[in-house]
Point group: C2
Chain length 222, copies 2
Amino acid sequence: MDTLLEQFLTQLKSSVNEMAGLVEEAIVVATKSLAKKDESGLKRVFELENQINDFHKKIDRDCFKLLARQSPVASDLRLLIVCTKMNVDLERMGDLACSISHCIGDYLKLQPVPIGNEIPKMADLVRLMVRQGLDAFLLSDEGMAREVLRMDDSVDNYRDTLSLSIRETLKVSNMNLDAHLELFTIVRNLERIGDHATNIAEEAIFLISGEDVRHQKNEGKK
Amino acid sequence: MDTLLEQFLTQLKSSVNEMAGLVEEAIVVATKSLAKKDESGLKRVFELENQINDFHKKIDRDCFKLLARQSPVASDLRLLIVCTKMNVDLERMGDLACSISHCIGDYLKLQPVPIGNEIPKMADLVRLMVRQGLDAFLLSDEGMAREVLRMDDSVDNYRDTLSLSIRETLKVSNMNLDAHLELFTIVRNLERIGDHATNIAEEAIFLISGEDVRHQKNEGKK
């Protein structure tokens, strides 16, 4: 029979997982709207962000209550701190998915320019990073978490290639400048979601092994 | 005579303040390099980021130790949680200041385009938000924290005006496209630093009044 604290911690992990599921859905819905040139899905992203924000507040309250009333120690305390931080990252991802949706909304009002397959592929990879980061945390799978860190390199490559391609297109002609700048911003924001998923994977590694792997990569990149 | 816990908490606040000072310096040094078209300062920003990252790890360790060994309750516990979160925001600001410096480095390699006074003014306002958010936290001044939230509206206005101006320039001519896109990215990143300063002010308000003012503004903006 689980103790009361164990039950609370299980519920907390489940809330974090549910919140991450909403973030994943927001990324999928936004990208689908872009690929299908159909803005009807964007409203759904804004609804999802509201739900993500509600989780943000709820998880903070739950963590505080648990800390105050149950005085957890050792690995339970570490778990609580990690959940507090993952909560920050997931909220920022929801915010970024929402920013992306605003860009898509503006993009769809303009003369369409070809988007190719690369942005949807990048978005799918970013979504996978979120899921895999969470799974690594839930399953205490350090290898899976480290894979997320490697996936971030691919996301950065997508960002570089796509940004360069947009620049090259605009150098040939500045027609459809606004549409291309929306895509440019979407790519940047997707990359930022990848950064937050990386934070989650790093937190998972800290929880599993006690190792602080943050700031080992070449950071502060553009 | 202060208790041991009180002494630790005073040290912790002092570390957070010192870390914020480094972030401020990074913003100032980066902006000066841009305004003076002199890249020699950028190296200093990268050094500052390393120091910010060291604080990031140290503050996390200190918070964890305090939670584990001193079992703080009520307002002390709230203070610790708030420091944990401010630490995340300050680290991201250092990261963004570093991204801005990479952009400035690339910008300075290109044919210079006029930058005007608006970007330095925006950067100065963002730096002030960081300082005022921290002061509000250290002095428990709720009014000052709420002022930071209002300053963020001005930062968003700068972002909108500057982005529009860059778009308009590029519509007239795509000459110097790369330089303008660097400025476009710098403006975005400054705005993101403002968002993190807003988080700090919101945390300060929570600490002072117990009120959770997050997600009351129109969010998920571009």
